[in-house]
């Protein structure tokens, strides 16, 4: 059920950040908190799966499948010892519970084959490190703060295709484009049209 305006304003998106580097975790956490998101930061893909309840081995203190904890975005480093970000991405996209959560990959290496592989596997975006404030602000648009975010985004695209006179053009979800560059106010206005 869509939230009313006030609930939407107060909703804090919850981000799961995965990075083996302590320095990077601290920076990512701050970047997202600055854009009013709650952040859970873990140091491995394994821990991320445990929190999601997808780890076949140990059980975490809380299991996101059974709790009220919902993640609006998962952002993960690519190069990590143990499980890579790519492997984590595959596990998440392979889960019926979590495959709708947007996953963003970060990497210090700008390798086209790597980027394509991740996008093909369903990553929403690929960010080359070091991560900047503008990168995170762009990601905010992926989250919207609505539980049915994915539904809304698709509906937005359908709405736009149906009205060729729409003033804005939504970039198609091709592999190399960045998330839709709709202005925040436009997004809210369009959402309200659908309520």
């Amino acid at each position: 059920m869509a939230k009313n305006g006030e609930e939407r304003e107060n909703y804090e998106a919850h981000v799961l950040a995965v990075d083996d580097s302590l320095v990077d975790r601290k920076v990512i956490e701050r970047l997202f908190k600055l854009t009013s998101c709650k952040v859970t930061a873990v140091d491995s893909g394994r821990k991320a799966l445990q929190i999601l309840g997808l780890d076949e081995g140990e059980k975490s203190a809380f299991d996101a499948r059974n709790s009220d904890i919902n993640f609006d975005l998962i952002i993960t480093d690519y190069c990590m010892p143990g499980m890579t970000g790519y492997e984590l991405l595959k596990k998440i996209k392979g889960s019926s519970t979590f495959r709708e959560i947007p996953v963003v990959i970060m990497s210090s290496e700008n390798i086209l084959t790597r980027i394509n592989r991740c996008l093909e596997e369903g990553a929403e975006d690929f960010i080359v490190k070091p991560v900047k404030l503008c990168d995170v602000m762009k990601l905010k648009r992926l989250m919207f703060g609505e539980k049915n975010r994915v539904f809304n985004k698709r509906k937005l695209e359908e709405t736009y295709e149906a009205s060729p006179n729409g003033a804005l053009s939504i970039s198609s979800r091709s592999s190399s484009s960045s998330p839709s560059s709709l202005d925040e106010n436009e997004l809210v206005r369009l959402e309200n049209l659908m309520l």
């Binding site: 580097s21 320095v23 601290k26 920076v27 210090s108 070091p130």
Partner: protein
Amino acid sequence: MEVGQLQRSFLEYTSALFREGFLDGQFGQLQLLQDESNPDFVVEVVSLFFEDSQRILTDLTTALDQKNVDFKKIDAHVHQLKGSSSSIGAQRVRNACIAFRNFCEEKKVEACVRCLQQVNQEYLLVKTKLEALFRLEQQIVAAGGVIPVLNDF
């Protein structure tokens, strides 16, 4: 020293660090993330970087000292250091790491030892300079002033 003077010294010192390539734009990004609710953010992140780097540099020294050098392990360590230095904007450390990784690929121990010396040197340099910068900040705050922000980095 009065506040205005301290602030000018701070700005001059910071500019020089950027100009001389010790720091790059990413350091400026970190400064953007600092505010009244998180007044020590930059110091905290940089301190983590110092701890992390110290550990990695020690591990690298040990690894290169082995009879059978594990280049893969060394590369992994250098990759880590490259990442964290990049994240705080320590440009010269990052560049030294990139050069180091090239020699890891070629599996040349002597060259790697020299690279490690280079990385270590750059690390100590930036550490000294950042510590001086933070001391200046403390002086400004102690004198009742606000830490000025450099606009162009």
